[in-house]
Structures are given as C-alpha cells and as structure tokens.
C-alpha cells in the first residue's frame, strides 16, 4: 500500500474508533433508560440502588405465574402475578389481553405502581421467545398442547393452550423465566 493510502486508512480508522468509543460510552451511561421495563425483582429490590416509588408510571416485564390468573366473571378485569427470579409483583388490568397471553408466558405491562408490589396496568403486551417449532414437537419437548382459540370452551378463558399436568412438565419447565434469550433448542434431545 502506498504511504498516502496508508495515511488515509489510519485517519479513517482512528476517527472511526473515536466515534465508536464515544457512542459506546454514551450508551453505557444511558444503559438504564434504554431498558424497556423493570423486572419484578427490580421493582421490589430497586434498580441501581434506586427504588421505584408508589405512584410512578412504569413498565414491568416478567413471566405470568401459572395458577395466578384470576378473572372477574362480570367484567374484563383480570389480575395475575409476575415473576422473574424470585420476588412476585401483582398486576391488575381491565381490558382485552393479547392472544399470546397465558400462564407461563413472558409479558410486558405498562401502568402505575399502586403499592410496593402492585401495579395497575393500562396496557398489557405479550412477549414471545425466539423459538419456533411445529406443534407436535412442542408437545413432545415442552408438554404444551396447541389448540386453536376457536375450539376453546368459552368458560375457560385463561389460556388457549393447555399444559398437560404430567410430571413431564415439571421436569421440562424452566426454573428460570424465559426473559433471557438463552434457551437452547435441540430437536430430538429427548
């Protein structure tokens, strides 16, 4: 390479490095504000030493605790518990839940903190993981049975999916919630 090109390459490289590190530092400083939501443990134990205060508007993301969903029979009001690694936060919501909402599912709710462990939500969004597989495989690996929402009995509105209550579910269900994108997919691992 001739010296002029070498010099130009060096200048471009150094400027690029400076810009990259400036933006890196900026993002590092903004780290907490870029997070879309608080996890239940961050609400109860505080995030970076700061506790969210009652009355604060915030988003929470966690996994719906199986068995915690309770619905009002006369209205659209629903309440459920969210968990990540330990602490549990209760969310109450009035409105239509997304199709993917079900027990064991990751969800993100926007609302107001009404007490230390309670949130009244105005919006509930479903989060899904990065795994895609046919229903038969899911049934074999996870013990989740896919049923079309249309076939559902109206009385049981808790979920369009039924967990069959065999010990297989116990052994396969993740002890950790699915919020971290690190689930392993191994077809035929069973």
């Amino acid at each position: 390479m001739n010296p002029r090109r070498k010099q130009r390459l060096a200048v471009v490289g150094i400027v690029g490095l400076l810009i990259a590190s400036a933006i890196g530092l900026m993002l590092y400083a903004l780290n907490d504000s870029i997070d879309l939501f608080y996890t239940p443990s961050e609400i109860i134990e505080g995030k970076q030493g700061q506790m969210p205060h009652v009355g604060q508007r915030l988003r929470i993301g966690g996994m719906v605790v199986p068995g915690s969903v309770s619905r009002d029979s006369k209205s659209l009001a629903v309440s459920f518990d969210l968990i990540d690694t330990g602490p549990i936060v209760t969310v109450t919501y009035t409105g239509i839940l997304p199709d993917l909402f079900r027990e064991g599912q990751g969800i993100v709710a926007t609302g107001v903190l009404t007490s230390a462990t309670e949130i009244t939500a105005q919006e509930v969004l479903a989060k899904h993981d990065e795994e895609y597989m046919p229903p038969e495989l899911a049934e074999k690996m996870k013990g989740i049975k896919h049923e079309k929402p249309a076939n559902m009995p109206i009385t049981d509105a808790s979920s369009s999916y039924q967990y069959d209550a065999t010990p297989k579910l116990e052994s396969n269900s993740k002890s950790k919630p699915e919020l971290e994108p690190e689930s392993k997919f191994k077809p035929g691992a069973q």
Binding site: L9, I34, V124, L125, D129, Y132, P134, P135, S183
Partner: protein, 249 residues
C-alpha cells in the same frame, strides 16, 4: 492479494461486470424467492405458539438481516472510496442506499404488522425497534446528503463519511436484544449457537434469505449501471455504447 479487484476501479470494467452478473442474479433471485416463499408460506408447519401468523418471518427476517448487510456493504464501499479513491466506490455506495432503505422499511413494516396480533402493539420504543428505525434514517440521510451536492465527487465523500459513521449502529441493532430489556425476542438464527427454529421451518427461511440477497444484488447492478452511464456520459465508451444500443433498437 486483491489484485483481481483492481480492474473494477475503472468504470467501464465495472459496467461490464454488472452486465455479466445481472441475468444470473435475476434468475437466482426469482428461483430462491419463489421456492422460499411458497415453501415457507404454504408448506412449512405452523408454529406451536403463533400458528400461521409466524409465517411473516419469511419476509421479516430476510429483510431485517439484509437491511443491516446492505448497510455494511455500503460502508465498505465508502471506505474503499475514501482510502483507495476508486471512482466506482461511491457510485456503488449510492446504488445500494435506496435498496437498503427499502429493505429497512419492509423490516419495520412487517415487524409492525407482526407485532400487532402477537404482542398487542404496532410499535414499542424498545431498543431493537428504535435502533432499526435509526438505520432507516441513516439510509435516508446518506441519500439526501448525496443529493444535496451538485458536484458528485464531493457528494460521494460527504455521504461516505455519513455511511461510515452510521456503521456503529449495526452492532447496536444486533446486540440490542441482549444488552437491554426489550419486547423483541432474542436472535433465532444469527447467533453462534444452534438456531432456535425447527429444521423444516429453517430451510425455507434460509432460501428466502438467499433470494432477498440475490434480489438486492440484481437491483444494485441495475442502479450501478445507470449511475455509471449518467456520470460518464462524456466518455467515448459510453457514447459508443449509446450508439450501438440505438442502432440495435
């Protein structure tokens, strides 16, 4: 080592390369897109959670991956233009820009259409969605900056600087789902792990991805050819070419 590349710094050789490549790119693009989309939309199995709605993945993921891929290619072209000062470098940069912008738009649009029924929202300001939107603005910025200069050599330099600076956004888009809490799920195929998708769903996705790549290549060669002809209008070889074309028709 890169000696074989040097002839393409000349506009005439680059033009000829485009002419040679173009039919192959079109044929491959059409074959891959037809096979990938028909297989994916009609024959791949349903997803266990999302049913048929997941099939938009066969458009969303290829366009999203290639919106980033095209940007990197554009930035490499800008780097070559800046350091080696090839005449064709900035031309190919600007030939790629609108194609990449359209890919980014498709990724955002299909993502919104997918997000509404699955998540329950068209748009959320999470790190992944926001950084992809910034990518669209970067593309538009490069195109606008290039258009703002009368002198196209100058325009290429300015737009090239912008393209190079913007490249820091690419790793941010890719790792956003790991660095921060987002509504968007983690990576399914672009990771150093086994893909988290069943093989019978993965194959059509990869073929569709290839099809999108060939399609971008094909459109870029057309745009590069016309850009070369427009910029080299007064060169004898272009005028000869123009005469031959008008005599044949």
């Amino acid at each position: 080592m890169w000696k074989w590349l040097h002839p393409y710094a000349k506009t005439e050789n680059a033009y000829q390369l485009c002419v040679t490549l173009q039919p192959w790119l079109w044929v491959s693009a059409l074959v891959c897109l037809a096979v990938g989309t028909v297989w994916g939309l009609a024959f791949a199995p349903q997803d266990y959670q999302q049913g048929d709605s997941f099939r938009i993945i066969y458009i969303h993921v290829p366009s999203a991956i290639l919106s980033m891929g095209t940007y990197v290619a554009m930035a490499i072209a800008a780097l070559v233009g800046m350091v080696w000062q090839w005449r064709t470098a900035y031309m190919s940069m600007i030939a790629m820009a609108p194609v990449g912008a359209v890919m980014t738009f498709i990724a955002l649009f299909t993502g919104a259409a997918w997000g509404k029924p699955m998540w329950g929202a068209w748009w959320v300001w999470d790190a992944r969605l926001t950084s992809e939107l910034i990518l669209l603005f970067l593309y538009i910025g490069v195109i606008a900056l290039y258009g703002a200069f009368e002198d196209k050599q100058q325009a290429g330099k300015a737009a090239g600087v912008m393209a190079l600076v913007g490249v820091v956004n690419i790793p941010i888009i890719h790792y956003s789902v790991e660095w921060w809490n987002t509504l968007h799920q983690g990576a399914t195929i672009s990771k150093f792990d086994q893909p988290s998708i069943a093989p019978e769903m993965l194959w059509p996705l990869l073929i569709s991805l290839l099809g999108f790549a060939f399609f971008i290549g094909a459109v870029t060669t057309i745009r590069l050819r016309s850009e070369i002809v427009r910029r080299e209008m007064h060169r004898p070889w272009v005028q000869k070419l123009a005469h031959e074309t008008s005599e044949n028709s």
